[in-house]
């Protein structure tokens, strides 16, 4: 050990320190990914596409031989769900018309969210480490994708936020990643909180809703959406539903465990929200 340090150790340590600082500085002062990271992403993009294509082919073959009975039962359950949702939709339409009449009576303008420009993107790679939950998409700066753009599914469920972007690729940290946090609102009670990833929940595919107001009463199944506060992300994007309510380590405050509505492992195509507008 002494001889190694005497002969080479200092040089190796110096090299490590210089490279580490360079990587950190490049990451800090760049609104997109650093040139090296961008180049690495471009070079590895075809390989990631190849991995995913092969995996999807195997999955398709596997699904083809799935149990017919299970598919029949799922089909029936989905039909029942559609019928129930159609009834909810009729009620919602009626409520909306009533809302319009009241707005007109009280001379209130409609506040709505316009998601504006959506860029479809294919998923090149799902999580590549056990310590993060991320997706790599095939769109980047050449299609005006930027860091902090939201990513949603075709149903409008929030998937995550763009954390790194290159020319033809971008990395999305999903909702359950430890580095994700965004303003959230409980749809039923309109309570505001912070939806954030937690490492002990990430392994189970869950996330946490914390910083809830005192006296908040949540029910299992309560829908949680983005609050849109601060204007960083659009409001009303579905995050997930409440699975259970727990007390934190201090025992003084409670937080909710959320189950995301988006099924990250099954995603193939998503949409990047490149711009949005709050009309009020």
């Amino acid at each position: 050990m002494k001889n190694f340090l005497k002969q080479h150790g200092l040089w190796v340590l110096f090299a490590v320190a210089v490279i580490a600082v360079a990587l950190a500085v490049m990451s800090l002062f760049s609104t997109t990914s650093s040139p090296l990271m961008n180049l690495a992403g471009i070079v590895t993009s075809p390989f990631r596409a190849a991995y995913t294509a092969v995996a999807n082919w195997f999955n398709e073959k596997q699904d083809y031989f799935a149990d017919v009975q299970a598919l029949r039962e799922e089909n029936q359950a989905l039909k029942n769900q559609i019928a129930s949702m159609e009834e909810d939709l009729r009620q919602a339409k009626s409520d909306s018309e009533e809302n319009q009449r009241f707005r007109k009576l009280m001379n209130l303008r409609e506040k709505k969210r316009d998601l504006g420009d959506l860029e479809p993107a294919h998923i090149l790679e799902h999580s590549s480490t056990n310590w993060t939950s991320s997706l790599t998409l095939n769109q980047g700066t050449e299609h005006d994708v930027e860091i902090n753009d939201c990513v949603i599914t075709e149903e409008g469920y929030l998937v995550g936020v763009v954390s790194a972007v290159g020319l033809n690729w971008c990395t999305v940290l999903t909702l359950i990643d430890t580095d994700t946090s965004l303003g959230a609102q409980v749809f039923r009670t309109e309570d505001i909180g912070l939806a954030e990833g937690d490492f002990s929940l990430m392994g189970q595919g869950l996330l946490k809703l914390s910083h809830l107001p005192a006296g908040t009463e949540l029910l299992g199944g309560d829908l949680v959406v983005t609050s849109g506060l601060g204007g960083y992300y659009p409001s009303g994007l579905v995050i997930g539903s409440v699975k259970e309510v727990r007390l934190d380590d201090s025992g003084a405050t409670q937080y909710a465990v959320l189950e995301p509505s988006a099924r990250f492992d099954e995603l193939v195509e998503v949409f990047v929200v490149k711009s949005f507008e709050i009309v009020s």
Binding site: M1, F4, Q7, H8, V12, A15, V16, I19, A20, V21, L23, A24, M26, S27, L28, L36, M37, L39, A40, G41, T44, F47, R48, A50, Y51, V54, A55, E125, H126, S127, S128, T129, N130, W131, T132, S134, S163, A164, T171, L173, T178, D179, D198, F199, S200, M202, G203
Partner: protein, 170 residues
């Protein structure tokens, strides 16, 4: 001792072997779940090569591998693998020189050390960022180590082949 051209050929072969292992990781291992996690070959690559090439060569290789990982994998900080892999390579090189001769048992042992370092660093960064989850981190690190050790023999055999090809006279 090998000549200059043999030196370049050796590292070219190690590069090709590393590339093969990266393809294995990308095409197969990242879609597998063993003990609930995916096998993660990168720390094992740094450790096993360092076992053969010693502290200096192993540390430099691990540094390069760490930089590549930082450029292509998401991490808690921009230089995560750049910092932890050279440390793992150094430990592996020193252990194989002084404690256990290079071979499959040593490859498994140094891989465990590499994963211990990587997992500890992950857990430490979580704690520093106010999101401490020691139990979950330990569980993930242990399962990741167990899942990857099943594939370390493949890495060992490949790197041993390269080492023996290039060190015939040793």
């Amino acid at each position: 001792m090998i000549g200059r051209s043999e030196f370049y050929i050796k590292w070219l072969l190690y590069g090709a072997a590393t590339f093969l292992m990266l393809l294995l990781q990308g095409f197969l291992l990242q879609y597998l779940r063993v003990f609930g996690v995916m096998p993660f070959l990168y720390p094992a690559l740094a450790a096993v090569l360092s076992m053969y090439e010693g502290a200096f060569g192993g540390t430099v290789y691990s540094l390069v591998l760490g930089v590549l990982c930082d450029l292509t994998l998401p991490g808690p900080i921009p230089c995560f693998y750049t910092l932890v892999f050279p440390a793992a390579g150094l430990c592996a090189g020193l252990l194989s020189k002084s404690w256990l001769p290079a071979g499959l048992p040593c490859a498994l042992a140094v891989s465990v050390v590499a994963f211990a370092l990587t997992g500890s660093f992950h857990a430490l960064l979580l704690a520093v960022s106010g999101k401490a989850a020691w139990a979950a981190a330990a569980s993930t690190a242990l399962r990741e180590t167990g899942a990857t050790l099943l594939f370390v023999p493949v890495v060992f055999l490949l790197f041993r082949k390269v080492y023996r090809k290039c060190h015939i006279d040793d």
